[in-house]
């Protein structure tokens, strides 16, 4: 059985093309069933996120035209598609799948969503019977490798988006965000996003204020928070633990003396100011007040960028792990493949021995039963002695993943071809529950 992986991703194809190819989660089972029914495909899985569409197939001698499947299933002209696709076979396909699931091939390296998406695809494919021995083995290894990379490297440990950096910083100040109050001054997409993230992480109450009070009321309703009149801003600001500003004001709204005043009222409990506005809403001097922490958009961006650098460094470590795991996977697969070949070798030899014994039967009739048993033992012993060396050679070649040697042995002993052999023995699989465990929801999504 051979492996083929064809697809497009954010590096090879523009979003317009990826949009056309995207298969929604509801249609995934149906599409996988159709791919399984496609000529030449024995096992199949489809991975479709907003950054990639990939088809993985197990096939026999001749490889199926997977782009042809896309053409027939989605009704897309494949001539324009061809230059944007990539194709991986055998070891390369295994390596690619390991990299994808470990989020090394993602737009934001280390994002946690992709593993969950691969698991969803696997579940969909298994539900329609498209995952059997070969893909089952491959995908379980994939999940193990992805998990190993998560635990042994710090590829996903630090936040790389502005909103999540803000949440991380807030947690570094307040520990838990439970029962913390957020004040949103002005409305902006970025500040709303940051506020939403803070609320998701447990922030308790949100106050919204705007020069146009109606707008503040509308926004407060969205967050189920409280609108505060802009005139009351300085009287209420000390109640908030986190203040996010994004107004179009040309002058600073909060200055150092405000910070001192708030801190005094709060009996020195810390305050976190996030200034997303340009020009800035908060005087940088406020950061000098003990207990006040100010981050502007540049600060947040530089933290995000440095975390991204960390991830790139960790990705190099992850690549080394993947290279080792690919070799290990191949060795295991080869070693397992050697078992039916050895059985074939023994069967062929046994057939020859039986044939020779039958031919000599007439001349051996005069022998006593004891003598006949001795002849039987002698021929069997000879056969086993002769077979010992080639069997050892097959086992060694399988462990070394020496496919040339295996083919030579196969030809020399006139053994049946690979696809004619029985299915390889499948090792004890990790439990399905393990494969389907939930993945944490993060902020960087591979799927839009």
């Amino acid at each position: 059985m051979k492996l083929l992986l064809t697809g497009v991703n954010h590096k090879t194809a523009p979003v317009e093309l990826r949009e056309q190819l995207a298969i929604s989660p509801e249609r995934l089972s149906d599409a996988t069933r159709a791919l399984l029914a496609f000529p030449g495909v024995h096992e199949a899985m489809i991975l479709s996120t907003c950054n990639r569409v990939e088809m993985l197939a197990c096939h026999e001698a001749s490889s199926p035209d997977l782009l042809g499947f896309l053409q027939s299933y989605l009704g897309i002209e494949t001539t324009s598609l061809r230059p944007h696709t990539y194709e991986y076979r055998e070891t390369d396909a295994v390596q690619h799948l390991f990299r994808v699931a470990s989020s090394l091939d993602s737009m934001v390296i280390g994002e946690p969503q992709i593993l969950g998406q691969v698991k969803e695809s696997y579940t969909a494919a298994r539900s329609v019977g498209a995952v059997q021995t070969h893909l089952e083995k491959l995908l379980q290894s994939t999940f193990t490798v992805a998990k190993k990379i998560r635990t042994e490297t710090q590829i996903g440990s630090s936040a790389v988006s502005i909103a999540s950096v803000a949440v991380d910083l807030a947690k570094k100040i307040f520990g838990s965000l439970e029962e913390k109050r957020v004040l949103l001054v002005g409305a902006g997409k970025m500040s709303e996003l940051a506020a939403r993230h803070l609320m998701q992480q447990g922030a308790d109450t949100i106050f919204v204020t705007n020069r146009t009070h109606e707008r503040a009321v509308r926004l407060a309703q969205n967050f189920q928070g409280h609108a505060v009149r802009f005139d009351d801003l300085y009287a209420t600001a000390d109640q908030a633990d986190i203040i996010i500003t994004s107004t179009g004001s040309q002058e600073h709204i909060f200055r150092r003396e405000h910070g001192q005043q708030f801190l005094h009222k709060r009996r020195n409990r810390p305050m976190f100011f996030i200034d997303i506005a340009v020009p800035r809403d908060i005087d940088p001097e406020i950061n000098r007040v003990d207990g006040v922490f100010l981050y502007d958009i540049d600060d947040l961006q530089s933290v995000a960028a440095s975390h991204l650098d960390d991830r790139t460094r960790e990705a190099q470590r992850a690549e080394v792990i993947i290279a080792e795991e690919v070799v290990r996977y191949q060795r295991r697969a080869q070693a397992l493949n050697a078992a039916p070949m050895i059985v074939d070798l023994q069967n062929t030899a046994e057939e020859m021995r039986q044939a020779e014994l039958r031919r000599a039967q007439a001349r051996l009739q005069s022998l006593t039963p004891e003598q006949q048993a001795a002849v039987e033992a002698l021929t069997r012993g000879l056969m086993n002695k002769f077979l010992h060396m080639p069997m050892q050679a097959i086992k060694a070649a399988a462990l070394e993943a020496d496919t040339v040697m295996l083919e030579v042995m196969r030809a020399a002993f006139n053994l049946p071809a690979v696809q004619e052999q029985g299915k390889p023995h499948v090792p004890a699989q990790p439990s399905a529950a393990n494969a389907e465990e939930p993945v944490s929801i993060g902020d960087q999504r591979d799927r839009s």
Binding site: G175, Y295, D299, H307
Partner: protein, 270 residues
């Protein structure tokens, strides 16, 4: 036999101290899984050694500096484990575990040649007095550490540094630990001093209170009270809290050192 358990505990604390570095500074979960069990194992051996040590001579309290050190070391590790249980942070391990290791090292090498020979030190009340004061010292060490961590974390956040010192726990956690340990330490110290004073009053009279160690102890207690009051009323945090905690800590070291000049608190003669 207790010496053997103490040595095992010392080795385990040594290992825990080493593993705490990558576990905390590098945030490596694998090392965290090593550090904690090794510390707990060390603590168990230490505890067994402690009980055997006290039981060996039918004594209820540590006599001699070695045993006092071993007790303080046990209290420090206990506090570290309690903080881990409550706040799930092992950041203190970076300092607390090596400190505990260094403290247990000398007692683990050999038995103490110089023990307090006074019969006075064998009473049960003295045992409570010493244990409470040692617990107060341990609490103060942790309070100072937490305040220092707070300061470092505050600086890091203010200067927008990332990467280095990433392992420090959140400010709020540090603040709570500093506050809780300070209050616990105060209770222990008050109790310890009160019992000590009553015993002294009974055995030696007013002269006892002119001893430098005793006087310094009371100065420390008053300063301690002031810090608690200031912290409570103003919500003091950060730099100033560290200055105050450091002052008490320095005074604590002076009290410890004052034993050398103390005439009545050495218990070397009957």
């Amino acid at each position: 036999m207790y010496l053997l358990w103490l040595r095992v505990a010392a080795v385990l604390y040594g290992l825990a101290s080493v593993s705490a570095l990558p576990a905390v500074l590098g945030d490596r979960p694998r090392w965290q899984r090593i550090c904690l069990p090794v510390t707990i194992a060390g603590w168990i051996f230490h505890f067994v050694a402690f009980v055997e040590m006290l039981a060996a001579a039918h004594r209820l309290m540590p006599v001699g500096m070695h045993q006092v050190q071993a007790t303080l070391s046990l209290l420090i590790v206990t506090a570290f484990l309690l903080i881990w249980l409550r706040y799930r942070t092992i950041s203190f391990g970076v300092f607390a575990l090596p400190l505990a290791f260094l403290m247990i090292l000398v007692p683990a090498i050999g038995p103490d040649k110089y023990t307090f020979s006074s019969s006075l030190v064998r009473s049960g009340w003295i045992a409570i007095h010493v244990t409470l004061l040692l617990a107060a010292y341990a609490a103060l060490i942790f309070s100072l550490l937490a305040s220092l961590f707070y300061l470092a974390q505050e600086r890091r956040l203010k200067n927008r540094q990332s990467g280095f010192l990433e392992w420090l726990p959140p400010l709020d956690t540090m603040d709570q630990i500093a506050k809780t340990t300070l209050i616990l330490g105060f209770y222990c110290m008050t109790g310890g001093l009160l019992i000590g004073s009553l015993i002294a009053q009974e055995h030696m009279g007013a002269a006892y209170f002119l001893d430098p160690k005793v006087v310094l102890s009371f100065v420390m207690w008053v300063l301690y009270l002031v810090i608690l009051f200031v912290r409570r009323s103003t919500g003091l945090r950060g730099r100033r809290a560290v200055y105050l905690s450091s002052a008490v800590f320095l005074l604590m070291l002076c009290v410890w050192a004052a034993n050398l000049f103390s005439s009545v608190h050495r218990f070397t003669t009957q």
